[in-house]
């Protein structure tokens, strides 16, 4: 009854990372005065290096610190900043803080979801976009606010959504050429 695909689900095939990335993480850990209480710091660094926190990286950290993998996973899953899935080339963060909400951020996020055919925290199939909800990026005066990577778009209207997507689609196409 067990089909191979189901085993696949249990043991996800993960991207192989070059050894240098692990080396970078290891030397960061070695440079710490103490690893006591430093797990979150290490995870921040690891996410910075690898882009996300796949299982192998979590286990690597667990072994390195001599703590159970479950403890590492427990922390990773607690904080919304940590992600176990790779994200797309561009992250579209729609501010869902209260100030943006009352100025219509919910409609904007819906439009992005509809246009890209994905939900929040998902990545489009071509790997170009990931949608994320964020809470107040501190530019409430510009509400509703959308941030693509580090670029902030203020006073966004539903009609602007296509334009924003197209800017990055075009950028993507330029790179391919």
């Amino acid at each position: 009854m067990t089909k191979p695909q189901e085993i696949d689900v249990m043991e996800p095939v993960e991207q192989e990372f070059p050894k240098e990335k692990y080396d970078e993480l290891e030397s960061f850990i070695n440079s710490l005065e103490t690893t006591k209480g430093a797990l979150i710091e290490i995870l921040h660094k690891a996410q910075h290096i690898f882009g996300y926190l796949p299982r192998d990286v979590q286990l690597f950290i667990a072994r390195k610190l001599g703590i159970p993998g479950a403890e590492v996973y427990g922390v990773v899953s607690f904080y919304s900043y940590f992600t176990t899935k790779p994200s797309g080339k561009h992250t579209i963060s729609v501010c869902m803080g209260t100030a943006c909400f009352v100025r219509g951020a919910d409609k904007i996020v819906e439009k992005f979801k509809e246009r890209l055919g994905i939900e929040s925290n998902e990545t489009t199939e071509d790997g170009l976009f990931t949608i994320k909800d964020v809470r107040c990026i501190g530019a409430c005066g510009l509400a509703p606010v959308v941030m693509v990577d580090d670029k902030v778009y203020g006073r966004v209207k539903v009609e602007d959504v296509d334009d924003i997507i197209n800017i990055y689609r075009r950028k993507g196409a330029e790179v391919c050429r």
Binding site: I40, L43, F78, V102, C136, L142
Partner: protein, 575 residues
């Protein structure tokens, strides 16, 4: 060079005075000018950095770079009108400055001495241009104490901070005062914690100072989880040294030699400004070993949060600092008794700290003369939502909502009617027309069913449906509840589901009744402040906007069909 005494600090102050003299209108002899450009998050997002580059290039090409300095400051507060540029000593305030306006500013204002009329702020009521900051209704009723240096100095230059009197309070405390005296001043000032609870800061310091332990800690809570509030980050971005100085004063008072700033990783600008400030403070020896030539040692490190609202709660914050899941603990023991790694730990909010150096230099009496009987000083509010002047406002306690919303905030845009204002973030409540004349302080807000919280103020107009607003907040708390206790984990989820059922028009009166009961149940039985206060928006909107709940179920009779359902207890009677 390291500062070893108050005299040495004073020498540096005098040497640096020239840097800010133009801005304080103390220098009338030179022809130089300062162009202050807002570098706060809002204006930064509006390309204020690029404007700075263009200004600098233009000045350089005209050979004026020596005379006219471009300075990146913290937030001016009037973020709605950003990017903001102020020219000193002319005291001219330009708003909504775009990239192409940089040229006009240099050519017209700087070179020809003519003000760029179109960039001046226009008073929407009088339809007149206003050129100075002081004349704007937005600033008239404000009193900037915690924000005193935001929009005035360059946050990345410790010498500018010293020039406005920075680190004097620390020097005085260390060289002229005992620990008990420092605590006494803070107690006398009547300062209460600005992080939400309003606990007297001096008392917290005193309790921590009395604990017997070799090691103690002082922590600055810069988690700022309230969506729609941005005062803490603005202070850190605009005036990081005042927080560092205050932490050192607090550390001395309680007997700690290590400090931590717990800051969210999502605040890159605040982190970078703080990192720069810490480095400069160490270089000048106002952090480190033997500060001001005394035996007092103190240093601060940063710990990054990772996006969990509950981590703002102090016991959760401490767990997170220890590298664990940020789940709250039962209190007592309080962190002041048993905190970071089991040692006495004093946790204070950013804005609370920002008040300390002024209290030390200007005196407890001065501070206590501002505000109301039980809430002294000023409070910074993040005014946002359906309001004309979105921004950061700092006002004396005791001011009314009407003054903030209609005078400072400029009222509701597009001629709409004011409906309600939510204070205290997701855990607060709404205040309606009836509450507009309430003087704002910790106690009066509780009396009218809301709370101060961190100071978020979201204004709603007639178009907003209050059931939707309550649902929005519940979705937030449901997502953010850590799941450690059952009422918090399951209760918030059920509350959200019920609200969802109501707003999708599928609910009956029985559901509304159940919602009400569950709201009180979650409130009474949750472990920590997060879910204890999570039902507040529901309770508060039901109280004031009951008809909006009814509207969703208007035509639905009792499911059993015996006519209209009569609710078991009227909301608002039980509390």
């Amino acid at each position: 060079m390291q500062i070893r005494s108050l005299e040495e600090l004073n020498k540096i102050k005098q040497k640096s005075a020239g840097k800010i003299a133009l801005r304080l209108h103390r220098d009338t002899t030179t022809t130089g000018k300062n162009i202050l450009v807002c570098g706060g998050t809002g204006c930064h997002a509006n390309e204020s950095d690029k404007i700075i580059k263009i200004l600098e290039a233009l000045l350089k090409s005209r050979g004026m770079a020596e005379q006219v300095k471009v300075i990146r400051t913290g937030c001016f507060g009037f973020c709605e009108q950003g990017p903001i540029i102020k020219i000193e000593p002319d005291n001219v305030f330009y708003v909504r400055v775009g990239l192409k306006d940089a040229k006009a500013i240099v050519e017209e204002h700087i070179v020809n001495g003519r003000w760029v009329e179109r960039l001046l702020y226009e008073d929407p009521q009088k339809k007149e241009k206003v050129n100075t900051q002081e004349e704007m209704t937005f600033y008239k009723k404000q009193l900037r104490v915690a924000l005193r240096n935001c929009g005035l100095i360059n946050p990345e230059d410790i010498y500018e901070y010293i020039a406005v009197g920075g680190y004097e309070a620390l020097g005085k405390a260390l060289t002229q005062m005992s620990r008990a005296e420092v605590i006494e001043i803070v107690k006398k000032s009547g300062l209460r914690g600005r992080g939400g609870g309003g606990f007297p800061t001096g008392l917290k310091w005193e309790i921590t100072s009395k604990q017997e332990d070799e090691e103690k800690f002082i922590i600055c809570n810069a988690d700022e989880g309230d969506p729609g509030a941005f005062m803490d980050r603005s202070i850190l971005e605009g005036d990081p040294h005042s927080v560092i100085e205050a932490m050192a004063i607090g550390a001395y008072a309680i007997g700690a030699d290590k400090g931590i700033v717990y800051i969210r990783a999502e605040y890159p600008l605040a982190i970078s400004r703080l990192t720069t400030a810490l480095r400069q403070a160490r270089e000048l020896g106002v952090l480190g070993k033997g500060i001001f030539g005394t035996s007092f040692n103190f240093d601060v490190r940063l710990k990054y949060g990772a996006g969990a609202f509950v981590c703002g709660e102090e016991t959760a914050l401490i767990n997170s600092c220890e590298g664990k899941r940020g789940e709250p603990n039962y209190k007592p023991p309080y962190p002041a008794e048993e905190g970071y790694w089991g040692h006495p730990t004093c946790v204070n909010n950013v804005e609370t700290f920002a008040n300390i150096p002024v209290i030390m230099t200007r005196g407890a009496e001065w501070f206590a003369s501002i505000g109301t009987e039980k809430s002294k000083g000023t409070k910074v509010f993040a005014l946002a939502g359906k309001i004309n002047n979105v921004g950061l406002v700092e006002v004396p306690m005791g001011i009314t909502f009407r003054e903030i919303i209609f005078d400072i905030g400029g009222g509701i845009p597009h001629g709409k009617k004011f409906k309600a204002v939510q204070t205290g973030g997701p855990s607060g409540g709404v205040i309606t027309e009836k509450g507009l004349d309430t003087p704002i302080d910790y106690d009066s807000l509780l009396e009218i069913g809301s709370m101060m919280g961190s100071g978020g103020m979201i204004v709603m107009d007639e178009d907003d449906n209050m059931v939707n607003i309550a649902k929005f907040y519940l979705e937030f708390t449901m997502d953010e509840a850590c799941g450690r206790c059952v009422p918090g984990r399951i209760g918030t989820k059920r509350l959200f589901e019920m609200l969802h059922k109501i707003t999708s028009g599928k609910a009956t009166m029985a559901d509304i009744d159940a919602l009400k009961q569950l709201a009180y149940m979650v409130k009474d039985s949750s472990l920590c402040g997060l879910c204890q206060t999570a039902p507040n928006p529901v309770i508060s909107t039901m109280k004031h906007f009951w008809h909006e709940y009814l509207a969703f179920v208007e035509d639905v009779d009792h499911p059993q069909g015996e006519g209209r359902y009569i609710p078991k207890n009227k909301i608002g009677l039980k509390s």
